[in-house]
Symmetry: D2
Subunit: 101 residues, 4 copies
């Protein structure tokens, strides 16, 4: 399945870079396929591996924050694999030109 | 912690009542504190009990659907309990009047 | 259509009550049908009236915050009205018992 | 400000490519800076131009669907520009290595 998530502390001021970096570091080392964006990270994997990683990221931020906000969106399509990049490529085929990605 | 989630199939047509009812039935029998709304269900509990219940609901819908979309928002405030109703009551105290809930 | 939204500053510390109260006060005075919950506010109305109100709430918080996070979910079903409470009542009819709301 | 959004019909079966393509086509022609991902599209612009485009996309899908679900997340940081790619570059500087993007 595909997931998109973001997690951030709400008691650390307006600059979140250091906290987001801790999270991306964990994700990058996890072995799961992922994509970092300006609004959250996409993950591809099965339910348990995706959710275990998100929990780990959330708890990492809670170590130094009293209040953490985490959002997860899951798109679970039977039999779908390699969708992290594949979905956008499919859209480009339908439109007939490249789009920004 | 508090969570809000919604889960629904995207291949069953515009009427979702029967699928949503299956999910609410599972939640109601789970023993976790919850609140049903027109846009999703609020849960209060610790990470694992909340996420185990959401997984169960998601998989229930996947039994009869090829594609299920699930969204979760988590508000994890250290030491907070009884917030499902308590948060709105606190807001009413600040505003100084009752609001719709 | 139905919408659920939340808006909060991320640079004001872990306690959000005063900021949330400003938002609920605007909503309560707007005349739109709404429901306040511990995880956000549900609104019912057409696109423009819902979005204008959300913009007003977001900008209210930006007056005293450098960084505001706002999330909106829209469920737009043709011809649907009175769904703020009606959806949950329909679920109860399918399940055959009352649920927490 | 930065926004991430997704919009899809829930009454058209499990394959969403054609509908998503209509939306991406509108975004690509809008002139706003954007990034397409497997879980939604990121936009950068001011409130009105971002929201007008999202409304246009939502209504495009409603032309051929009875029920459309749209989700928007907004990260509004005072004075921030060029954050669509800049945020991830900043994270890489903090971590000290390239990440997947």
């Amino acid at each position: 399945m595909l997931a998109m998530f973001s997690t951030f502390p709400i008691d650390k001021g307006p600059a979140l870079g250091k906290d987001v970096a801790k999270v991306i570091d964990l994700i990058d080392k996890s072995g799961l396929d992922y994509q970092t964006t300006a609004m959250g990270t996409l993950l591809e994997g099965d339910w348990d591996e995706v959710m275990d990683l998100i929990k780990k990221c959330h708890l990492k931020l809670r170590e130094s924050s009293k209040r953490v906000n985490t959002r997860i969106t899951i798109d679970d399509l039977e039999g779908a694999k390699g969708r992290l990049k594949g979905k956008v490529v499919d859209i480009e085929k339908i439109i007939g030109r490249k789009v920004k990605k």
